[in-house]
């Protein structure tokens, strides 16, 4: 595909008018605030906001020495690893079987894709309700099995709760991409392997799974981005970062420190760290996903 048009229109002013709305929005609401975040991250203001002084990298040093921030990093890492691994394996399983089914696969797809439409905050509320210690129906079931369950006090339980809600919401997305990936694998390859006597289990691991690796890698990056940035609402609705700060992922901490604790410099420094993470993830995505993983 051509990167440039051969035939273009000529006008000295029209293109500027056409592009103006988009440029205005990104300048005012993207670049200006991002620059402000960079600036605030090297400043510190007193409690009343009357004086601002330049402090260099002190805010970053404070972050580095802040046990709760490092803890939040660890929480985020555990959370996104669990969301990515569980979400990918569950949806891959469903996609493999949906790929096999000839009759009714459209119906299954329809019934598997709608959680994408559920708002993260609503997903958080749903799971909070099912797993509420005293009234939740699933908590009741867990107690009947003789196990304890209290996400308000036990941080492992709280983590399990937000992981389940986040995975539930993301399964449909992963499923669609895995199914499309599986359906694009030429049937002749699988038929040839079948004639050579490879059974379905073996065929999956030697043919389908390797050929699916670009899709898997792409989804891995997407799921990590999702777990880092799009799950704020799930955490806020289901656990509010608790118990203590045990489920406060990085994005939640930026929000909490900036808007509840009013630590602008610290919050801005955290924003800058997050920006670096997004840039890194985007670069990874474009470098490796565009070229496709080699197999």
């Amino acid at each position: 595909m051509a990167v440039e048009k051969r035939v273009v229109f000529k006008s000295a002013w029209l293109p500027w008018v056409l592009i103006a709305p988009q440029v205005a929005v990104i300048a005012i609401f993207f670049f200006w605030p991002a620059a402000q975040a960079l600036l605030q991250s090297v400043q510190q203001s007193d409690a009343f906001g009357t004086s601002v002084e330049f402090v260099g990298l002190e805010n970053f040093r404070n972050l580095w020495n802040d046990a709760s921030y490092l803890e939040s990093f660890k929480t985020t890492a555990v959370f996104s690893a669990l969301v990515a691994v569980l979400g990918l394996s569950l949806s891959l399983t469903l996609a493999i079987f949906a790929d096999r089914v000839v009759r009714g696969s459209g119906i299954y797809r329809t019934f598997l894709i709608w959680p994408y439409a559920v708002a993260p905050a609503v997903a958080g509320v749903l799971w909070l309700f099912m797993f509420a210690p005293s009234i939740g129906i699933v908590s009741y079931g867990i107690r009947q099995l003789g196990m304890g369950w209290d996400p308000l006090l036990n941080s492992n339980h709280a983590m399990a709760l937000i992981v389940m809600a986040a995975v539930w919401k993301q399964i449909s997305y992963n499923f669609l991409f895995f199914l499309a990936g599986l359906q694009s694998i030429p049937k002749s390859l699988i038929e040839a392997a079948a004639m050579d006597g490879a059974r379905p289990w073996r065929r999956f691991w030697t043919i389908q799974f390797p050929l699916l690796s670009p899709t898997t890698f792409f989804l891995l990056v997407i799921n990590i981005v999702y777990a880092f940035f799009d799950t704020f609402a799930i955490v806020d609705a289901a656990t509010k970062g608790g118990p203590g700060k045990d489920t406060a992922i990085l994005v939640y901490k930026v929000y909490f420190d900036g808007f509840k604790a009013m630590d602008l410099g610290g919050s801005a420094a955290q924003s800058v760290v997050l920006m670096v993470i997004v840039v890194a993830l985007t670069v990874v995505q474009f470098r490796f996903v565009e070229k496709k993983v080699n197999y």
Binding site: F30, P33, Q40, I135, T282
Partner: protein, 283 residues
């Protein structure tokens, strides 16, 4: 189907049905809870079959007038706020992206590639990483608690601009030449040829962006402080306060059903465009 394996076929259906049921379970419970009285819902275990208070609960939710703790604003109003916000965001993104992609593909002007990359870089600046300063800008512009504040900062779209650019590059040059011969200027060409040709891309983007707009949480949470400007996704969270026993869970669950309905309908009814939109926007 490569070979006949009846047992494996059976297993496939069984696993898929279990998957569908497990995924639907939270919503079924939500629906059941939304048809009972508060007392019935908070007893443990709660009933597993729908009750008789469906109509009462949904009316109470939509019109407001709850008794428990937490926010008591009417959900009907919040749904309206959500609908307007989602429509403005999705249509706004499509409109400004169509225009800027048209400018970038069909014109040559200084700093063209600079703007292209500037739009691209916004991919790396999600709201979550710049919430503080963006809030400051919106507050300084006096846009708190307004539809402008809820929508305009979210309206820029790198993905939509790229999608339209990709599509425009595949449109044959002969169409431009033919339009020129017929005496059509650039705006005429845009309106009568390019936009109609982009119909499917527009539909696909609309589905994705409508859901994106409807499901926004962090941003509305920051820029709205008045209950009358809460989108339903933010409002539902405000209804839960105090202990489990004081929250009117039946009404909260009715609200959850109402909040899920419009985007779920859009996905299921426009499934073809939804799938196309998902695949295209991630290229």
């Amino acid at each position: 189907m490569v070979e006949r394996r009846p047992w494996l076929d059976f297993l496939s259906h069984a696993i898929l049905i279990i998957g569908v049921l497990v995924i639907a379970f939270p919503v079924y419970i939500t629906f059941v809870a939304s048809t009972h009285t508060t007392q019935e819902v908070v007893q443990s275990p709660m009933p597993l079959l729908p009750g008789a208070h469906l109509w009462d609960n949904y009316r109470t939710a939509l019109l407001g007038g709850r008794e428990g703790t937490g926010s008591k604003a009417a959900v009907g109003g919040m749904m309206m706020v959500s609908l307007i916000t989602a429509l403005v965001i999705s249509l706004g993104k499509i409109a400004i992206s169509l225009l800027s992609a048209f400018a970038i593909v069909y014109f040559r002007f200084p700093a063209r590639m600079f703007f292209f990359w500037a739009i691209f870089v916004t991919l790396m600046l999600p709201v979550e990483v710049r919430i503080g300063p963006t809030y400051q800008v919106v507050a300084d512009l006096g846009m708190l608690n307004s539809y402008a504040g809820l929508t305009v900062p979210l309206i820029a779209s790198a993905t939509a601009t790229f999608l339209f650019r990709q599509f425009f590059l595949t449109v044959p040059d002969e169409l431009v030449e033919a339009a020129r011969v017929d005496g059509a200027g650039p705006l005429r060409f845009f309106k009568d040829i390019l936009v109609p040709l982009s119909r499917t891309s527009i539909a696909a983007l609309f589905v994705i962006q409508f859901i994106y707009g409807w499901n926004q949480y962090l941003w509305p949470l920051l820029v709205t402080t008045e209950e009358s400007m809460y989108p339903v996704v933010v409002g539902i969270k405000q209804m839960i306060s105090g202990g489990d026993a004081q929250t009117e869970w039946n009404i909260v669950m009715a609200t959850a059903m109402l909040a899920m309905l419009p985007p779920a309908l859009v996905v299921m009814l426009m499934q073809k465009w939804f799938v196309k939109g998902l695949v295209d926007t991630e290229k």
